[in-house]
C-alpha cells in the first residue's frame, strides 16, 4: 500500500546515513521550537483574554 504521506526528502535524496540522521536531528529541533512557540502563543492569548475580561469587569 502506498504511503499516504510520502516523505520524499527521506526517500528520494541520495543521502548518506549521516545526512539522514542529521536531517532528523534538525527537524526534531525545529519541531520542538515550533511546539514551544505555539504553546507560548496559547498561553499568551489566554493571559490577554483574562486581563481584558478583568479590565472590563466581566469576570470578577
Amino acid at each position: 500500500m502506498a504511503d499516504p504521506m510520502p516523505r520524499n526528502e527521506l526517500r528520494e535524496n541520495p543521502w548518506t546515513p549521516e545526512e539522514r540522521a542529521e536531517f532528523s536531528r534538525r527537524r526534531r529541533g525545529r519541531n520542538f521550537l515550533l511546539l514551544g512557540v505555539l504553546g507560548g502563543l496559547c498561553l499568551l492569548i489566554y493571559a490577554i483574554a483574562l486581563v481584558k475580561l478583568h479590565e472590563y469587569g466581566q469576570m470578577w
Partner: protein, 303 residues
C-alpha cells in the same frame, strides 16, 4: 551546527531560524520599547506590557528576517554577514521570507488585540519602513540611506508609549528624534572600518562614496546635533535633572570619542593609520550611550 552539513535541503537548525531575527539588534529595540512603556504617564497591566514588548521584539525580528531575505546577495559577499543562515545555505530564501511575513502579521495582530490600534498601526509602519523604505529603496541607492532609514530603529520607544497611552506626545517624539539623529554617527563609525565590505557588496555607504575624511566630519556634525537634542526633554521640563545631567555627561563623552575619530591618524586619502581604532571605540560607545541615556529616562521618571 555540524560544519559538514550546510545544505538547505537538510533544513536549518532551530538556532538558524532564531538567528534570522537578528537577536543582537533586538536587545536595543526591546530596551527602547520598554523605556517607552515605563516613561508613559499611564500604567498598563504587566501582562499587556510584556505582550507589547514581545510584539515589538517579534516585529523587529520579522523585519530583520525579511531584510536578510532581500539582502542575501550582498550578505554573501560581506565578511560580516556571509555566515548568516541564508548566504551560508542553512535556510532557503523563500522560507526566510515566509517566516518574516508570518511573524510580522502575528506581531501587529497581537499588539492590536493586547493594547490598542494606534500602537499596532505604528508597529506596522515601523516594519514597512524598515523593509520597503530602508531595505528595498534607500540602502542600495544613496549614501544617506541610514540617515532616513534610521527612523526604522527609532520607532520602538514611540510604540511603547502608544501601547500604554493610546496617544502620542512630545516626549516620545523627542525620543524618536534622538534615535534618528544617533543612528548616523553610530552606523558611520561601523562603516568606517567595514567600508571594504560595503564596497565589495556595492552598498553606497558614506565612506565608500564620499571617503573616510568626509564621513568623519559628518559623524561630528550629527553628534553636535545629537547632544543638544538629548538635552531638549530636560530643557522642556519633560524629564528631570537626573536625565539632564546624564545626557550632558554622556554627550560630552560621545563628543570626545567623535573628536578622536575626526583627528585619527590618517594618510593623504583619509585612510586611518590606526586600523580605525577610534571609530571602533566610538561605535561601542554609541551603543552604551543609547542604553544609558534611555535608562536615565526611566530612572528619572521612577525616582
Amino acid at each position: 551546527m555540524s560544519e559538514s552539513f550546510v545544505n538547505a535541503d537538510l533544513g536549518g537548525e532551530a538556532s538558524d531560524w532564531l538567528a534570522l531575527l537578528k537577536p543582537r539588534v533586538l536587545t536595543l529595540v526591546v530596551f527602547t520599547g520598554a523605556i517607552g512603556l515605563v516613561i508613559a504617564p499611564v500604567r498598563i497591566n504587566p501582562v499587556l506590557a510584556l505582550t507589547a514588548i514581545l510584539c515589538i521584539a517579534v516585529a523587529a525580528g520579522a523585519a530583520g528576517a525579511i531584510n536578510m531575505w532581500y539582502d542575501r546577495d550582498i550578505d554573501a559577499v560581506m565578511n560580516r554577514t556571509r555566515g548568516r543562515p541564508i548566504p551560508a545555505g542553512r535556510i532557503a530564501a523563500p522560507g526566510a521570507l515566509g517566516f518574516g511575513i508570518v511573524l510580522a502579521c502575528f506581531s501587529v495582530l497581537v499588539m492590536a488585540m493586547a493594547t490598542n490600534l494606534l500602537a499596532a498601526f505604528v508597529l506596522a509602519v515601523s516594519i514597512a519602513f524598515y523593509v520597503f523604505i530602508y531595505t528595498m529603496w534607500l540602502k542600495r541607492r544613496t549614501p544617506q540611506n541610514i540617515v532616513i532609514g534610521g527612523a526604522a530603529g527609532a520607532f520602538p520607544a514611540v510604540i511603547g508609549w502608544t501601547a500604554a497611552t493610546g496617544s502620542l506626545a512630545v516626549l516620545p517624539v523627542l525620543l524618536f528624534l534622538i534615535v534618528l539623529v544617533w543612528t548616523p554617527p553610530h552606523f558611520w563609525s561601523l562603516a568606517l572600518y567595514a567600508s571594504g565590505d560595503y564596497e565589495r557588496a556595492g552598498v553606497p555607504m558614506l565612506p565608500v562614496v564620499k571617503g573616510a575624511r568626509h564621513t568623519r566630519w559628518c559623524i561630528m556634525i550629527y553628534t553636535l546635533l545629537l547632544v543638544p537634542l538629548t538635552l531638549a526633554p530636560w530643557a522642556l521640563g519633560l524629564l528631570g535633572p537626573i536625565y539632564g545631567m546624564t545626557a550632558l555627561v554622556l554627550g560630552i563623552g560621545f563628543l570626545v570619542c567623535v573628536w578622536r575619530v575626526l583627528f585619527d591618524s590618517q594618510d593623504a586619502r583619509g585612510v586611518s593609520l590606526t586600523k580605525d581604532a577610534p571609530a571602533r571605540a566610538a561605535f561601542k560607545y554609541s551603543i552604551l550611550y543609547l542604553f544609558v541615556l534611555f535608562g536615565a529616562c526611566a530612572v528619572d521618571r521612577l525616582v
